[in-house]
């Protein structure tokens, strides 16, 4: 069954959109990632214009993240003060990132930059997580107790300390602000919520417990992607509500399934799965950059 999308101005299959939304929703609920790093390239692939794909992807992530975060709130796995601090950094970062994005768009190199960003960040994040999770699993198989996380490092010597009760942390607000900001910048450039960077940053840089990380990341993502949606709607008119509706009907259902699946797996398994997924996307994008394309030319329409 086909439907014509009023903003994207293309006709697509309804079941395909529901399926795409569903897959991304499951990932969102399981790992606390928005899934933007998957939905945006997937929408390109099915023929949605890139500008519409980025903007509508953001809108869809609002829905799936909101759906999933409610489940995490019921489980008391959201650190609201930490989420708020991250969010403040995130909004500052994404506002700055949009300036950078528009500058590169004028230079005609934005596609390349976006792809390079994906490859580099997905590669680093996925690689580190994978190695770490494999080591953790190996340690627990040997029967040795997992080594305790270092309780004190330079992060703990900074001023403006705050108590984050749910995470069991008493640290300065500067590191979470910086984490939020850098994720915000990347989120705006890459057109994603930034969960796949946020989650490992919270685990490894801030030392938050994995179970809390997912809910808190989702909480933060809702606002960053909501902000992005508004910005795209106002400046470019590229948010397609009809497209978003079908994606998010699939997405919210997927998110519910995903957050229940996630609760059944242990933290190490969850991380190794996410790492494998991130590396897979990274590999695909990397190969596309290196292999000679079938068509050397691309047609770029005028800004709508």
């Amino acid at each position: 069954m086909q439907i014509y999308l009023p903003i994207a101005e293309v006709s697509v299959n309804i079941w395909m959109l529901l399926g795409l939304g569903g897959i991304v929703g499951i990932l969102s609920g399981m790992f606390g990632v928005g899934g933007g790093f998957l939905i945006t390239p997937l929408l390109f692939f099915v023929g949605i214009p890139p500008a519409v794909a980025v903007a509508t992807g953001a809108n869809q992530i609002v829905a799936s993240s909101f759906s999933a975060v409610l489940t995490h709130i019921r489980r008391r796995a959201v650190d609201f003060p930490m989420g708020t601090v991250l969010l403040i950094g995130g909004l500052i970062g994404s506002a700055f990132g949009i300036v950078v994005f528009n500058y590169l768009k004028a230079l005609g190199q934005v596609d390349l930059l976006v792809q390079l960003c994906y490859v580099v960040f997905l590669g680093i994040v996925g690689g580190l997580m994978f190695i770490e999770s494999v080591n953790a699993i190996r340690r627990s198989r040997k029967g040795a107790r997992p080594t305790a996380r270092r309780k004190h490092n330079w992060v703990h010597n900074l001023p403006f300390k705050m108590k984050f009760r749910v995470s069991g942390l008493y640290i300065s607000v500067i590191p979470p602000l910086l984490v939020g900001m850098s994720v915000g910048i990347l989120a705006a450039i890459m057109g994603v919520g930034g969960g796949f960077i946020m989650v490992p940053a919270m685990i490894y840089l801030l030392g938050m417990p994995t179970k809390v990380v997912i809910g808190t990341s989702l909480f933060q993502i809702i606002f960053v992607t909501g902000f992005t949606t508004m910005l795209h709607a106002i400046t470019n008119q590229t948010v397609d509500i009809v497209l978003a509706l079908f994606l998010l009907v699939g997405g919210v259902i997927g998110a519910q399934v995903g957050s229940r699946l996630g609760a059944r797996l242990n933290a190490e398994q969850l991380r190794i799965l996410l790492a494998a997924l991130v590396l897979l996307v990274c590999l695909k994008l990397g190969i596309d950059l290196i292999l000679a394309p079938d068509e050397l030319f691309t047609v770029v329409g005028a800004v709508k």
């Binding site: 609002v62 390079l116 909501g226 795209h232 047609v299």
Partner: protein, 252 residues
Amino acid sequence: MMARLAALLLTLLALPAFAEEKIVIGLSQDEVAISASFTGSEILIFGAIRREVPLPTDSTLGVLITLSGPQVPLSVWRKERRLGIWVNTEQVEVDLAPSYYAVASSGPMNEVLMDIEDVRHSISVPRAIRAVGVGIAGSESFIEALIRIREKEGTYQILEGAIDLEQDTLFRTSVSMPSDLIEGDYVTRIFLTRDGIVIDEFDTVIPVNKVGLERWLYELANEFPFVYGLLAIAIAMISGWGASAAFAALRR
């Protein structure tokens, strides 16, 4: 000198005879409505040639039909390998290119249309694209690439010999419009040629418009973007909450 004068005189004499042939046409539909279930459209263009003189036998008759979407500026980029990766390096800006273009003819293009007439009326695909900076070395390859890419997408169609011309009087063809149409006025032109020279032209416009919900959302997005953005987020939040509540209820 005398020979040329004679030739001129001959053409002058011949022209009125050509002008006696006029196009009368009909369209299967005179507008295209894009609704939610729009999956493309097939337009049947048919017509007849009215003549007040007996059918000339000394020259061949040709019919050409073009259907053109709104003209938009665009740019074409070419990739090159730099430091092992493929990077956009060169671009050619195209002033105006039709977003959709179909050209159908009753026979091989080079037989029914002379080059000079193509230049005058911009009938063939390359002539329909107006590019600046043509003359920069290699810019032709960019235009060729544009046509190649769009032909593959189905937004540019070259339908050589697709017009049925019966008894040099009745002609018909059907042109398919893809589902990813943009709104605007689609100009339909029909040319009648004798030995590749245009003797009559008939123009009409097929408006393509979104209707119903499609129209309403499109207008809202463009005229009240703030409201539209809030609506988009509200829908997202409500369905997110709805799914969560529904699943919570299911578990109980």
